[in-house]
Symmetry: C2
DNA sequence: CAAGCATGATAGTATTACTACTCCAAATCA
DNA sequence: TGATTTGGAGTAGTAATACTATCATGCTTG
């Protein structure tokens, strides 16, 4: 059986839905690979058009500009990850185990999901690690936020926050801890491979050190503290 | 008495030392204000030249490109903050108090330091919060790292890591905790003002909520754990 | 068959990111 | 003092970027 996961995207992110046409899917696929290869700064629609086998104008028919395309891809990722998490913790009752699984999904390398042919999830994961924050670190955050472009990220954050609260119902900062967990997972991963002296993971091949660190920080913060006298 | 703090910068960050000439200082001053005002993406040397009262070529004589200027300003900030921290925890012996002070320096608004006339530190602090990560989230990280452009950040991180170790000598991840602390402080601040639903601070005027959160996370992680059986 | 839509091809503009060259005035030296 | 070097500042030009607009074509759907 072949399962086709169609992720519902905010309609304002694109001019024409890229999921519905062959060219659109080609643009998404090439876009992911090209941004990963040359970085978002060097990435242009002209270069994308070449690798996607179309013209510059062809790409502009789907996306208003490259920032919207980034927002699209990052949103797509958060939606996908949210789904992965809900799938992965399904039927688990212990909050502790849920949190451990989430941390692994955030920090460990992603296996490509065959159910969406046109998006390479493992490459997209690396893009989000490397460039994800650029989606909101702009002067148009407020405007983009009003267009609900960050809803998938907020939903994910809210889901994880809820699970943290299951573990400790008295937790004072569930959302901040949740957004911090997500960002730190990515940042430590980036540091490990690019600026290793900012971490304690050295040059080990696997990312279990990051998992250990995140578990340490998160579970410490989740311990119930005695009320102050 | 007037104290002139001259911060020693990596010579490869600039073509001509901007601290040594009036125009150079003007470029730094206008640069900080302009990047803060319009954001790094919209920022160009042409616009900077106008506000700094020179020509585009004039700016290019000091900095190779705008990324180098950002690296310069961010480095300047980390150097300055490192100095502030060492000054502020001077003569304090309790590690706990040191850490509390550091957290406040990281999260609370910065008062402009009068000892450097040409850099507005409180504005620069906001730039680092908003755009700081763009200094290293590029495809040239490795190259920039080889040029030692991130040394001030690493030094700061290492200093804070050392203090965390003073508090708990068995701490397993001092550098990761340190870099996480710095980045989370900035990110939560950014979220609070731009994407508040990713935090638990609401719309309070002051940033003490962020301080509380950071103290919670850091001191929890610093508690000595009993050895596993 | 006609209408309509998706794509492709071409061209054009304003801005960006630089580079190269020129000019001028102050400092240096014979 | 006069000649010369040197550095700071301006002008102009180029290639690339980020779009926008127009028109032709071919394929589908009613």
């Amino acid at each position: 059986m072949e399962l086709h996961l169609q992720i519902k995207m905010n309609g304002r992110l694109f001019l024409k839905d890229p999921q519905l046409t062959v060219l659109g899917q080609q643009i998404l696929q090439s876009g992911v690979l090209l941004i990963h290869e040359i970085g978002f700064e060097q990435f242009t629609f002209k270069k994308l058009a070449e690798t996607a086998g179309t013209t510059e104008a062809g790409v502009y028919r789907y996306f208003e500009n490259k920032h919207r395309l980034l927002l699209y891809l990052v949103s797509w990722y958060w939606n996908w990850l949210d789904y992965q998490i809900s799938y992965c913790i399904n039927n688990i009752s212990q909050p502790e185990l849920k949190i451990r699984r989430i941390i692994r999904l955030l920090a460990l390398p992603v296996k490509d999901d065959q159910s969406t042919s046109y998006i390479n999830e493992s490459v997209l994961h690396e893009i989000v690690v490397e460039q994800g924050t650029k989606a909101y670190l702009t002067k148009q955050v407020t405007e983009d936020n009003q267009h609900q472009f960050f809803k998938p990220y907020k939903d994910l954050c809210s889901r994880i926050g809820g699970i943290l609260l299951e573990y400790n119902t008295e937790l004072k900062f569930p959302r901040s801890l949740s957004s911090s967990l997500i960002e730190i997972a990515h940042l430590q991963k980036y540091f490990k491979y690019n600026l290793p002296s900012l971490t304690d993971f050295g040059t080990t091949d696997n990312d279990t050190g990051i998992v250990d660190f995140l578990e340490e920080v998160v579970f410490s913060s989740l311990i119930k503290k005695p009320a102050k006298p």
